[in-house]
């Protein structure tokens, strides 16, 4: 019997605010432990939360970009549980009136568009970070992250494979980055993902028993963890055993999942409305402004690249995955380059170089106008494509313009016929054998003559012009 995989994802995204959601502490990542803290985020007796409007703004933006219906009167609730990294003994979150509900994102699976439903988007505060000592007797806690604003994006169980899960995550990340909502750096924890996964006999409409999967710290691990779960659950079902409802942890070392806790140990969070905060009213003007200010989203941009710029779907997909890359690419085109040529350069040499160096596109040593300048030099025939790739490397190292490097390196291609004619005539005169061979029908002989001319010009002659001049003289 075949099984269908059913996956739902819970994604936590840290919002890019300067200060925490309920106090004035900095949200800066990587500062020394417990330096971005105050009585409020440490949960001292008597302290009270004050909502950071910017966090609501970003959550609203996110919910809008994810096509959610917005709850214009949303409220905060307390989620009660004990853990040392949770200073108040409760997390301020949103329970039954989240900021957004009933949204969706689109992914492309095997060339077809698929809509993944989003159940809800809600705003909440992050907890601190526990670090457990190797002696097994001590734990240390860094409260810098406590109170950093988060949104939780809960998907519908619409995802049907580990690969779709990865595509969904990439789509979410892309949207968050486009809207400047979050950095979505999984390695820094600014994007985190938990998954619910179950199997059911193909054709069945009822859900099977699910497991919750945690601790997957990269998109790849999400896919791998889910793949392992599919395998594990399939095996169980095939052996006639039941899947136990439980929480499992992905173990990176073994690439497997291990049981963390069973359902019986599941928490009763005792949600109730947070009495220290007022209802948040999002008036029409606020909502309208956020909608109007929403940037072009990845899916729209991709379509535009295909339709208006005539790019192949593959190119459009690669270029629009990250907003900064798409912005870079568009600047190159705006500076006068041909769309497809620019795409080849950005996807090929530029991203290749940046990836090798571990640089983001924002940190590229070659600015878009400079890349356009280089492309223009090729178009003009000043240098060959092959030369251009060498020039690009030098541009990356020096930050200089293509024109400057071409001059410095004496690379200008000679296209001036007045300069080339005497050289070509000399080559013809010195190589009667080749001329004879060509006339006898040996095409190869033409290459030899061109090669001699290139040699005589130290490779600077424009091969196309040389070709033409030789043919004019030896007939053909």
């Amino acid at each position: 019997m075949g099984y269908e995989t059913v996956i739902g994802l819970e994604v936590h995204v840290e919002l890019k605010t300067k200060t925490k959601i309920f106090c004035g502490c900095s949200t800066n990542f990587g500062d020394p432990p417990n330096t971005n803290v105050c009585p409020v985020c440490l949960g001292h007796p008597g302290t009270l939360p004050v909502l950071n409007r910017q966090a609501v703004e970003l959550a609203l933006k996110a919910a809008t970009a994810l096509n959610c219906q917005i709850n214009q009167d949303c409220k905060f609730d307390r989620k009660n549980y004990f853990y040392p990294d949770l200073p108040k003994g409760y997390q301020i979150s949103q329970y039954d009136q989240p900021i957004g509900e009933h949204g969706y994102v689109e992914i492309e699976v095997d060339g077809r568009r698929k809509r993944i439903g989003i159940t809800r988007v809600h705003l909440e505060e992050d907890a601190g970070k526990s670090m457990h000592g190797e002696d097994g007797r001590h734990s240390l806690i860094d409260y810098n992250r406590t109170g950093v604003p988060l949104i939780e994006i809960v998907s519908e169980p619409d995802i049907r494979s580990p690969e779709e899960a990865r595509l969904y995550l990439e789509a979410i990340k892309s949207i968050m980055q486009y809207c400047d909502i979050s950095d979505c750096r999984m390695e820094e924890g600014s994007l985190r993902c938990d998954a619910n996964i179950s199997l059911r006999p193909e054709g069945s409409t009822e859900f099977g028993e699910k497991t919750e999967l945690k601790n997957m710290n990269s998109f790849r691990n999400v896919q791998r963890g889910l793949e392992f779960e599919v395998q594990r659950q399939t095996q169980l079902l095939e052996q006639g055993q039941a899947v136990t409802q439980e929480t499992r942890r992905f173990d990176e070392a073994t690439q497997t999942t291990v049981s963390m806790r069973s359902k019986e140990e599941a928490h009763d969070y005792r949600y109730f409305p947070e009495p220290d905060l007022l209802f948040v009213h999002i008036d029409d003007a606020w909502l309208d402004r956020v909608r109007a200010e929403l940037p072009e989203l990845p899916a729209q941009r991709r379509a535009r690249f295909e339709q208006e710029l005539g790019l192949p779907a593959y190119d459009a997909g690669v270029l629009t995955a990250e907003r900064a890359v798409a912005d870079y690419y568009e600047s190159v085109v705006a500076a006068g380059s041909d769309a497809k040529t620019a795409s080849n350069w950005v996807m090929g040499d530029l991203l290749g170089y940046l990836n090798a160096q571990g640089l983001t596109v924002e940190a590229s040593p070659v600015r878009p106008e400079q890349l356009a300048g280089l492309i223009a030099q090729v178009d003009k025939g000043t240098i060959s494509i092959k030369q251009a790739r060498d020039v690009f490397k030098l541009m990356c190292e020096s930050g200089k313009d293509a024109e400057v490097i071409i001059k410095e390196q004496g690379m200008e291609q000679i296209s001036d016929e007045a300069v080339l004619v005497p050289i070509v005539e000399e080559v013809i005169a010195n190589n009667p054998k080749s001329v004879e061979d060509y006339r006898a029908g040996k095409q190869k002989a033409l290459g030899a003559l061109v090669g001699q001319t290139m040699k005589a010009t130290k490779g600077k002659a424009n091969p196309a012009v040389v070709n033409k001049l030789i043919l004019e003289r030896i007939g053909g």
Partner: protein, 481 residues
Amino acid sequence: MSVHTVKEILASLRRKESKPSEWTETALRMIEQHDPTIGAFLTVDGERALERARRLDGEAFDGALFGVPYALKDNICTRNLKTTAASRILESYIPPYDATVAQRLAATQGVLLGKTNLDEFAMGSSTENSAFQLTRNPYDVKRVPGGSSGGSAAAVAAGMVPFALGSDTGGSIRQPASFCGVVGLKPTYGRVSRYGLIAFASSLDQIGPFTRSVEDAAFVLQAISGHDERDSTSAPQDVPDFVRGLEGGVKGLRIGLVTGLDEHGVDAEVQAAVGKAVQTLQDAGAEVVEVHLPHLRYAVATYYLIAPAEASSNLARYDGVRYGRRAAGQSLAEMYENTRSEGFGMEVKRRIMIGTYALSSGYYDAYYRRAQQVRTRIREDFEQAFKRCDVIVMPTTPTTAFPLGEKVDNPLQMYLNDIFTIPANLAGLPALSVPCGVSSEGLPIGLQLLAHWWDEATLLRVGHTYEQARGFAMPLPRMGA
């Protein structure tokens, strides 16, 4: 023993007949003399208080409470001064910050003398739930001062300080004010910032003053009121001039008498004293109307679901991890368990359990949600009532101060003592307790006045008018049995 009001002290200071340090010295002397018996203070910050007062001696009269000594209930955070909420779990807790009210009072150049006793985390009606000491009623030391702000009430009643702040969640200012024969005011919810008040039940807690006159209450309220951006529930509401608003009398004002209060077991002497007070107001020109509060009878039950529910969450932070007491344990769970078992007293544990239960999945709708619905009804009752009247009159408590130990093992009896004070908290209304007589046993009786939301001005005006017209002065406490 001679006691002075804030007004008298300020007048004397303004006329330069006395110096701030003299008032602080007098207050410290009173504490030294009487507090061993009364037990109002958990911390006396004498040296620093004297230092502050002496510094003021050399300064020009400036702030609104220049040179006036005062005390704060020990659930109001004070920077660098131990704040315990009368709980073992915060036995040695020194806050790194000042509550907004502490800051505002400091800005008026008042002189903080120390921190007063309370029921642990303000949970109780007798101050017997303090983890540290009993506080005795200055009118009869065998009796309770009321609670939870029993220390603040007793300190003012005993003449140790001319005013003190308390907090009122279900009557914790008004009930001890009534028992100790002083004025106690619970402002409208949102009038005074809660920032720095150790939370018991966030949607009910409100800070307010204990004073020896209604006029003083107006004065102190003025100093602590107003929006605070650190407390989102503090309202951006204009603060009127309460002191100026005191004059003008009650002519034409409608006083609402609540029907059917007899069923709540009001003591005959209390009933008589309150009746007399109503007559006094009527004689002063007020008109008396009857009002109905049909959901009043559900107030105690409602309160004892909502308050513990919020408390169970508010007290979760006392886990031994970051501050306060930490007990040893072999595991995290055991450390939590030991810390909280040792750190919290019986009543606190009881309420945490009730609250946890009320919020549990499967019970939430039947208890917490239901209680919130009834709370709305009670609020609506008042909305209706205030269409017919300007202030509502009730006894503050059904009885006078009860003997120490009498109800400590009977929580239900203790809870029922709050029947008349709880409704104002549930509805968020301002309410005032003014002494209106003394029982045959020499115990003070309190008259409670409630006014419309944000209308402390009318509340204080009626209280002040009554105080002027009542025709007797409260006898000074005996400080003995």
